[in-house]
Point group: C2
Chain length 287, copies 2
């Protein structure tokens, strides 16, 4: 029987019936049906199909040790956040998750509470203080708080090898006996996702800006609890309502108060004026 | 408003409303809906999403001047043939089309009618004779017949640089005053699509064999007519009912008769026994 518009999808789904792994069989069958559904709906010309092949090829070839353009594509198509939402359904008050992003590619250096992760010192100082607690409010001593962020010009250290000290903007902190953490940094800035690859071309073609609102990344983990991958967003930052990767959640926005008190500044080891953000992280117990 | 499972797809579709090109806007809106539909159906874990990102990345990185792994992926998912079917809807008796395939990457050398495209001479000789006509049966003098095929070991010249003479298995012929063409070659063999990349891994994981039935590729063009990209398949070849790229059409299968007549062999300039295939190509007038 010929492979025609009528028989095509069933034929491809049937070709996967010998797949040993039932989950892979399910995924590929669904992929064939949805992918064919897309093709049937848009009825691409061969030139359009070739452009799609060329775009996907260029996206793969733009990836290297420091850059993951397919994650970026997944991000700007809202797929990453949709996968995140599906995997974090919950009806609790636990801290919400958001995208990991492509820049958690190197291990954060372990640092002492109160240390700075800003190895450059050219921007506005910022202090982040917080606590890690369980759903019932009990503090979680020894919780691990992994943070990373862009510098005050909007670049991560791995984007500027040689231009920033390695580990700039990164730190792995261990909470004290009361589950508290605090560290110094630079006030984060809004920044564009990388635009010099195929995904940047897609954003240009669709009239979308490439910016993300100012934020600090967190992965917080504690014994007996589910870790959370999330951000703290800076209240009032530009692009909070049009994040290029759809990652903003209202519950993750915090005031970064400006503090112009020399005594408080001295207590944290920074110069006044500085910004101060408070972030309590609530973890769900492991299932 | 937060990006949630409920709002995700609308938010991404809405992000494309500023796209200047209405066709691109349509395609991306459809892509977002079908891609999200796939994600919602299979509910991938993060590990599965990472494997998908890794697979797509490896597919892009496997591409080079001689290899197009994304076309191969499109082929084994039936997408290429579906695009072909959509673009060649017709209710006529014109010759049916099938996939271009990834090996038409170099121009076929112009050759004289009767020349051989087999520059090696180790396999069974084959003669292909035919005619190019219009829908009404009128011959099309001067029609261009571009042919390419694998050698008797199942490899195209571009797959074995240094191993085969460049242009082996390829020829561009010009039909005579009666629209006739004829050339010598080697009897084609079934062969596997390249299995040493991500697509080969996909076939292995799904228990699918990588073989294509024996065939010769054709692109036939004539003034005032729509060109056709197609194959001739060898009747009786293995895998006619399970082509790895879903490209077989019954109307394109021809007998490759074994001829053991020294006079006929001498007339075509081959050794007996040889195989003889006849292929009449019917082109539709340009719209």
């Amino acid at each position: 029987m010929d492979f025609t518009e009528e028989t095509a999808t069933d034929a491809v789904v049937a070709s996967f019936t010998g797949t040993a792994d039932p989950r892979l069989r399910e995924i590929l069958g669904s992929l064939a049906r949805h992918l064919h559904g897309f093709v049937r709906e848009v009825e691409p010309t061969f030139e359009e199909w070739e452009r799609a092949v060329g775009f996907l090829t260029a996206t793969g070839q733009r990836c290297d040790d420091q850059r993951q353009e397919f994650i970026l594509l997944s991000d700007v198509l809202g797929v990453t956040m949709l996968v995140d939402a599906i995997n974090h359904r919950k009806a609790t008050e636990a801290t919400e998750s958001t995208v990991l992003g492509p820049f958690h590619m190197v291990a954060s250096p372990p640092r002492e509470l109160g240390d700075t992760i800003d190895l450059v010192g050219t921007g506005q100082p910022c202090v982040v203080t917080g606590r890690v607690v369980s759903l019932d409010g009990a503090p979680l001593p020894g919780a691990q708080v992994d943070v990373w962020q862009a510098d005050d010009h909007g670049f991560y250290d791995v984007q500027q090898p040689g231009g920033q000290p390695p580990g700039n903007g990164r730190g792995l902190f261990t909470c004290d006996d009361e589950g508290r953490f605090w560290f110094r940094t630079v006030t984060p800035s809004a920044y564009p996702i990388p635009t010099d690859g195929p995904v940047g071309g897609l954003l240009t073609a669709t009239g979308r800006h490439p910016y993300r609102p100012a934020h600090i990344h967190f992965i917080v983990a504690a014994d007996g609890h589910q870790p959370v991958t999330t951000h703290v967003f800076v209240a009032g930052s530009q692009y909070l309502d049009s994040d290029a990767v759809f990652a903003v959640k209202q519950s993750l926005i915090r005031d970064f108060d400006e503090v112009d008190d020399p005594d408080q500044a001295a207590a944290y080891g920074v110069q006044a004026p500085f910004r101060h953000a408070r972030f309590e992280v609530v973890l769900q117990p492991s299932p």
